[in-house]
């Protein structure tokens, strides 16, 4: 299914890859771009999940994981889309600017349940650090999820489920 076809309010279950990344990692990516350096990862066609997992219990794939507040990272949204990101996943309402950016790039924003991190961790089938390991819980991870619950919060036409 193409992201352009999704409508605000629609509930889906997603299976596939997610790139886990939050505040500090995006700040670093921006610094790489400003210095004209090569990025440590390719974001073309990827979905970014704003999250920072808890520590991994022994023998498990990943620790508790869930969305963090997306609005904090609204200023980096355009950068992500420019790098080829097709959708973002997080929690909560986003700014008017973020909605406009989604419309302009024809991209979507999903929310996934917050405070449900133990349950969501069960839907993660594999996980590996992609970059910035020194950031600990804020490193960039690639995870493979199955039946991950999402609601379209901003669609590619800029319709949103939140009151503006």
């Amino acid at each position: 299914m193409k992201v352009e076809e999704l409508k605000a309010g629609q509930e889906i279950r997603y299976s596939g890859k997610l790139i886990v990344m939050r505040d500090q990692a995006q700040k670093r990516l921006k610094e790489f771009l400003e210095k004209g350096e090569k990025l440590p990862l390719n974001l073309e066609g990827q979905i970014v999940f704003y999250a920072g997992p808890a520590r991994t219990p022994q023998g498990k794939v990943i620790g508790a994981i869930g969305p963090t507040t997306s609005a904090r990272m609204d200023d980096y949204l355009e950068m992500l889309f420019r790098l080829g990101v097709v959708a973002t996943v997080g929690k909560g309402k986003r700014s008017k600017k973020a909605i406009d950016t989604c419309r302009k790039w024809k991209r979507v924003y999903f929310i996934t349940p917050s405070g449900a991190a133990a349950a969501l961790s069960k839907r993660v089938k594999s996980a590996r650090v992609l970059a910035f390991e020194d950031l600990g819980p804020e490193a960039i991870y690639e995870i493979e999820v199955e039946e991950f619950p999402l609601v379209v919060a901003i669609d590619s036409e800029g319709n949103t489920i939140f009151e503006e």
């Binding site: 500090q24 219990p57 508790a64 963090t68 929690k91 909560g92 917050s114 991190a117 133990a118």
Partner: protein, 272 residues
């Protein structure tokens, strides 16, 4: 004398419980919720309990409110014991280290989840009462203080609270517990708003005028219809609590703090 070890063990147990076991007051409300993601939210606390996994990946910065009886003698400074408890719990359980050493320049993770924030109040008697909040960053970012005109009155306060929650409530994992601090100085008002979050939902302010304001705010905030996860279904706030304090003739500080839908908190009492 109260042994540090006694306090340590009790506090550790309470912090683990707050992180992995759903608060009973909340479980009842969630059981009734049938909107989007309700299946996952209900599944979550069953898995947390069975596997000792945290309910939320953001296992917070722990904030303590210590009421120390004036006849109580402690083996070591309470802040030391509490930091030790946090460090041990967060190392022993698969919780997230979410505290950085310097807020502005380095932001290097302390990898202990310490320091905790500790507020100490001396009270009468020989009892040590420790209340705490496991405060996630998303809800903490909604904290706000406004220095109002002393003539502002109830309507302006209500307007401030309603506008703030309307604009930002969906970012902090609603339904929310809303704490309001009125009076004192700027810092005192913020502290009061946090103390308000240590109350049980059904408690009401002892002053009937503030109790009425709590009820009115609760109703008005629920009319916003933000709902669970900001998706419009279910409650927007669980409860509103106000703590007040005398203030200067020229001031009316009003602070708002919120707790996320999991409301992770605890209380430990040790007799001296």
């Amino acid at each position: 004398m109260i042994r540090a070890h006694t306090v340590l063990e009790k506090v550790k147990k309470a912090i683990v419980e707050a992180n992995v076991k759903i608060n009973e007051e909340i479980r009842e409300i969630i059981e009734e919720y049938e909107g989007p993601f309700s299946d996952i939210i209900k599944e979550n606390y069953r898995i947390s309990k069975e596997e000792n996994l945290p309910l939320c990946q953001d296992t917070g910065m722990v904030e303590f409110f210590v009421f120390l009886g004036h006849k109580t003698v402690l083996e070591e400074p309470i802040e030391q014991t509490l930091n030790k408890a946090v460090e041990e719990v967060y190392r022993e359980y698969p919780f997230r280290f979410s505290v950085v050493s310097d807020p502005l320049f380095d932001r290097i993770n302390t990898e202990t989840n310490t320091p905790a924030v500790v507020h100490l109040f001396q009270v009468e008697g020989n009892k040590l009462e420790i209340r705490f909040l496991v405060k996630g960053g998303g809800s903490e970012n909604l904290s706000v203080l406004r220095m109002m005109n002393p003539t502002s009155g109830i309507d302006r306060i209500k307007e401030f609270v309603v506008e703030h929650i309307k604009e930002h409530g969906a970012k902090a994992c609603p339904p929310l517990h809303v704490g309001i601090g009125i009076g004192g100085t700027a810092d005192k008002a913020v502290l009061l708003s946090k103390l308000a979050l240590t109350r049980d939902f059904k408690e009401r302010n002892e002053d009937p005028r503030y109790a009425e304001l709590e009820r009115e705010l609760e109703n008005e905030l629920n009319l916003l219809g933000i709902g669970f996860q900001g998706l419009g279904k279910g409650k927007t706030v669980y409860s509103v609590h106000i703590e007040h304090f005398p203030t200067h003739i020229a001031t009316l500080p009003v602070a708002i703090s919120v707790d996320c839908y999991l409301c992770r908190k605890g209380k430990v009492i040790v007799e001296g």
